[in-house]
Symmetry: D2
Subunit: 374 residues, 4 copies
């Protein structure tokens, strides 16, 4: 496949870079992880996240659906009943999304998107003017999409401005290190991996990841989910990012593209990561141990020890046991061995504790202050 952009054509097809960033803030790189290229379509989920923040989910949903399209990235069709693009990760959707990013003009909107991505990447990302100009030379297809959206009443800005801004957004220069950092933030629920700052709202992050899971690899999204199982997004410059929620962000770069317009080596790397490292969303570790570590007595008190990562199911086991009642007057809920706890589990445990307090002296050992929440 050729890219139709002369700036992209001049790149060494054998280049290869890889970066893996964990939610703990550690980053591993291999090859030319600092080689810079244009972000292209990988900008779509980040622009989508920004538009969701600026415009709100409801307004976005009225403009762009969230269904896999079953067609190519540049399909020129809107939903027959609603006039919406099928999702925000095909070109039609990406243009509609830009329209809902706040900004005074194309340049300003592109600037805000670049700033947003810079915050995630941890360094200043800027538009590559040569790539931008080359984009504009071959923009008839996007012009067609923008005018189509406009004629369907789905675009407020002028088509020219939207296409110009999208060209700028696609021309932002990044490297694998940047993209892995950005992906790791999404893997971390939108929170920075190096501070407590929530860079992307949790609900928005979840929504964007969901759309990446079902629509991110265009008309191959279903097979990608089966064989790789990592929500992902590819760009025509030869990069692919992947986000494994709660674990890692991955970015690969290698310019040679396959028929679907995805990086040949990029796809291979993801398939290996999924197979060899079990980085697959549907991969389950059958539980060897319960979240309920132990229920015992110590010094006349019942000690209930929880352990590991506590979500709803884990908290339920505790609640279930509590229903059976405890013989002692005093109860100690020991969270020392718990690593993380989510909101639903926190609420449930707090409720149980309050209920127990009616009849028992109840204390909680929570050295990491997990029950206090974030």
């Amino acid at each position: 496949m050729t890219t139709g952009n002369r700036q992209l054509e001049n790149v060494d097809p054998e280049l290869f870079g890889l970066a893996v960033a964990t939610v703990d803030g550690t980053i591993y790189t291999a090859g030319e992880a600092n080689h810079e290229f244009s972000i292209q379509s990988i900008s779509k989920p980040f622009a989508y996240a920004l538009a969701l923040r600026d415009g709100g989910l409801e307004r976005l949903e009225a403009r762009v659906d969230a269904e896999p399209s079953g067609e190519k990235f540049n399909e020129i069709s809107l939903e027959s009943d609603t006039g919406r693009p099928r999702n925000a990760l095909i070109n039609a959707g990406a243009l509609a999304v830009r329209d809902l990013v706040d900004g005074t003009d194309a340049r300003h909107r592109a600037q805000r998107i670049a700033e947003e991505m810079s915050r995630l990447a941890g360094r200043d990302l800027v538009v590559d003017d040569q790539v931008y100009e080359a984009e504009l030379e071959a923009d008839d297809h996007n012009q067609a999409l923008a005018h189509l959206l406009r004629s369907a009443g789905q675009l407020d800005c002028a088509p020219d401005e939207v296409v110009d801004g999208y060209a700028r957004q696609c021309a932002i220069g990044v490297d694998c290190h940047d993209l892995a950092m950005m992906a790791a933030v999404m893997a971390n629920g939108g929170m920075s991996t190096s501070s407590d700052e929530q860079l992307i709202d949790g609900q928005i992050n979840r929504h964007v990841l969901s759309v990446m899971a079902t629509c991110g690899m265009y008309n191959g999204s279903g097979n990608w989910m089966s064989t790789v199982g990592i929500p992902a997004k590819s760009g025509v410059a030869g990069a692919i990012i992947g986000v494994l929620p709660g674990q890692v962000g991955v970015a690969v770069f290698s310019p040679r593209l396959n028929q679907q317009g995805n990086s040949v080596r990029g796809v291979a790397v993801f398939e290996r990561l999924s197979r060899d490292m079990e980085l697959h969303m549907m991969h389950v570790i059958p539980t060897g141990r319960s979240a309920l570590r132990s229920v015992g007595e110590r010094d006349g008190a019942t000690v209930v020890e929880l352990q590991g990562d506590i979500r709803f199911a884990g908290a339920e086991i505790f609640a279930s046991r509590a229903c059976e009642g405890f013989a002692t007057d005093e109860i100690v809920i020991d969270l020392s061995e718990v690593r993380v706890i989510d909101d639903a589990a926190r609420r449930l445990i707090t409720e149980v504790r309050e209920r127990l307090s009616e009849d028992h002296r109840t204390t909680v050992q929570d050295p990491a202050r997990l029950l206090a929440g974030r």
Copy 2:
């Protein structure tokens, strides 16, 4: 929506049942969780899993793709280039799948599928003859699909037999308790929630869950992933099952259907579960604590404590720290506070331990024998 099956039409639309089964084997029920109904399309993922075991992934892939269709459950189209149905969860795919389940005839194949599901449900499930006969009365659409598959060279059995067998499979009687148990096995990576038995091969389980995630709710799969985020499958009798990997299996039953043919109250329940209990695949708990609990010295030895649920990313942190080297001669790797560990993490930790052993006296405290694996 009407179902076209007179047996289904006679049911009280206000019936409601709910069951939630955790991967720990606990099951919660509400309403008419023991009211029996026909499994209908919810049989599809389980028949698919059996066909994958009997025929192998490669053979299945040659017959059925794994892409969302963007169309209705009964769409009468095959991929123009390959002649395959788009996925195994639309009717065309379900019929093609049946063809690859071993068996001497339609009855035998249906029997094997019923037995397979019985193992997961933990009780004997049988075909409801009245429902089966009513299915056959309105089977023209499935007959059309089966003949189409046959004419495309994608069916070895006679179309009549395939349609007959599919009618039997859909007429198997279940209740919410059964379905939640079956879903919980999938949530548990295919392993029984009450014993160590691997009921569904892990790879097959992962594949089926992936297809449920992208294709399970037909042409609404994308929005289902965004708003609910639980791989699911609905049936025309009014049931929906959901599988949250590593956590729970859920089954709801309520006969009133919406326009898409999904249970109205079933959809509402799943939306609440997702929202209130954060049972969403893309929901991430930003890490409060590292998998690396502590690195300290005790009695002249370095003690490295890991904690929580250890996957690749967690093990990487340990490996990364190990690369920096340790000052003491003796090293203790303490896994006492680890709840579960997956294969990739196990391999990585084992490698690091072996490398450390070259220069250090290295011991592992692993009371639950997690490093020994299953």
Copy 3:
């Protein structure tokens, strides 16, 4: 292209036959014009005509549309809003049409269609049992279509019966001489070319020809109209018939098929006929002479001579001249040089004559009794 029917596969691909029958009853033949083959899809327009007689246009229109499909002959889709096949000349439509032919069963219906075609061909046509049986062996696609129609509520008969009957209809043996005779009847407005018998009702004949013009050559109908300009229908045995209204019926037979399933030499012959003999519906002979041959005086009377083939436009010229008035007391309308006259022209001339009679002595010279009508 292969035909999927082993009886058709065994034919010498080099066979060639041609027959041209004029509306005057003359027939010219070349090559193997008496070589017999199965009529296949060329039976569709004749079965359509019979169903239109049995069921009436309104009933047929509720079941089958009359629009080009833009797809292949065996497309497996119905109109999304009405559930109708796009037209009667694709397989789905031909099956729906059969349902509206009167008859007690498949055999009887096929018998009636064979009899109808025999009347047009002028000899007894019968089903070739070997071809019929071979059709049934590869009927999955038609089974699919029939079941689809049934499931859409568009079929009263059992799908099996409809497919069986269609297989019989397609297996009727004909030769080029037969087909040219049949086509010539259609070219002659449905009237026999050798007697005054109206074999196909004029309105029905017009309707069927219209559908042949826009849908007869499947997804190549538009280009066929441009390059050939003759309403036509092809069959998979290698025959093509063409009907040029008012002029000729043509039949070509040569078994080698092109990609579209049309006879290679058949297409070539039609292209030559159209080009060399100007047998193109849109070919116009710019008028050298008016239908109004002369207006003169003879023996004190005004003599108005008409000539040639008089349709609406020709009669209008006469009416227009009559409006200007005539100076003489006596008027002679001379139709001696008129060859044919249609109903609209007859009505108009009669009206003018009656109007003239109010003020003039008006006589008509009409040796062929054209004004008396048929």
Copy 4:
């Protein structure tokens, strides 16, 4: 339906005009036949004819197909394999066609199209600037189509220029009288109805009429052919033209549109014309008389009289009779009663005459010099 053009919205929906022009040059009008409106889509066949003259059929065919689309006039799709619009009468095709009209810029091309139409209408037609400007205000859909064509490599001009030029072309002011005159020229094989001037090349005229027959009424072309049977084209201002080859050109104007965007009263008028005046292409007058009027002897010579309108079929009857031989030495071929004769018939009669001359003294009575040709 609304037109999206504010200039069109302000027109009295009850206006009605009708004009019928015969190939003999007579024109009948009724109602507001001189009320002027914008030609809109009715310009398409005339611009197509001009592009065919400028660019040649082969070049046009490489850019625009000639197949019915089965979709709406403004469908935004190109053929997946060739990138061509389906035909020249949908908007995509009309834009592609403009690109092949010679001219220095949009204004010049529109000027040439206006001049071409002026020649047919017999008076100077000019662009209505108010309509043109209103067109430009709502041109997003056409912009989308033009950019799509450009991106598919099917457009040489700038999209802006093509859309601007098309807006001008659509804004040309006409009345029913004009349109009927223009249609009559097409009905007359491209020749002026008042002089011997060939205004549209015969081959091009035939091609354009063919496309009007199969594609002129968009996705209702098949039913239009069945019920009306007149190649036609409608415009969003409320006009419809029809061309019955060899007979008449018809134009109706009435602004109220139906769901398909066709004039409600316009459609009704055409249905009545077709039914009451038998103005249907597939309407056949079964021949009462042969083209061979008589074969007799007079003064020792055989006199062969032909009559009426002689095409291929008629000439064949003569040729057939000639093959049987004549007993006399002298033969007279009498064409006095022949009205018109086409090229194929002329060639055949000339050949037969030459053959007869080898053995007979052969003379031709041809007072209108029909055998000499045009």
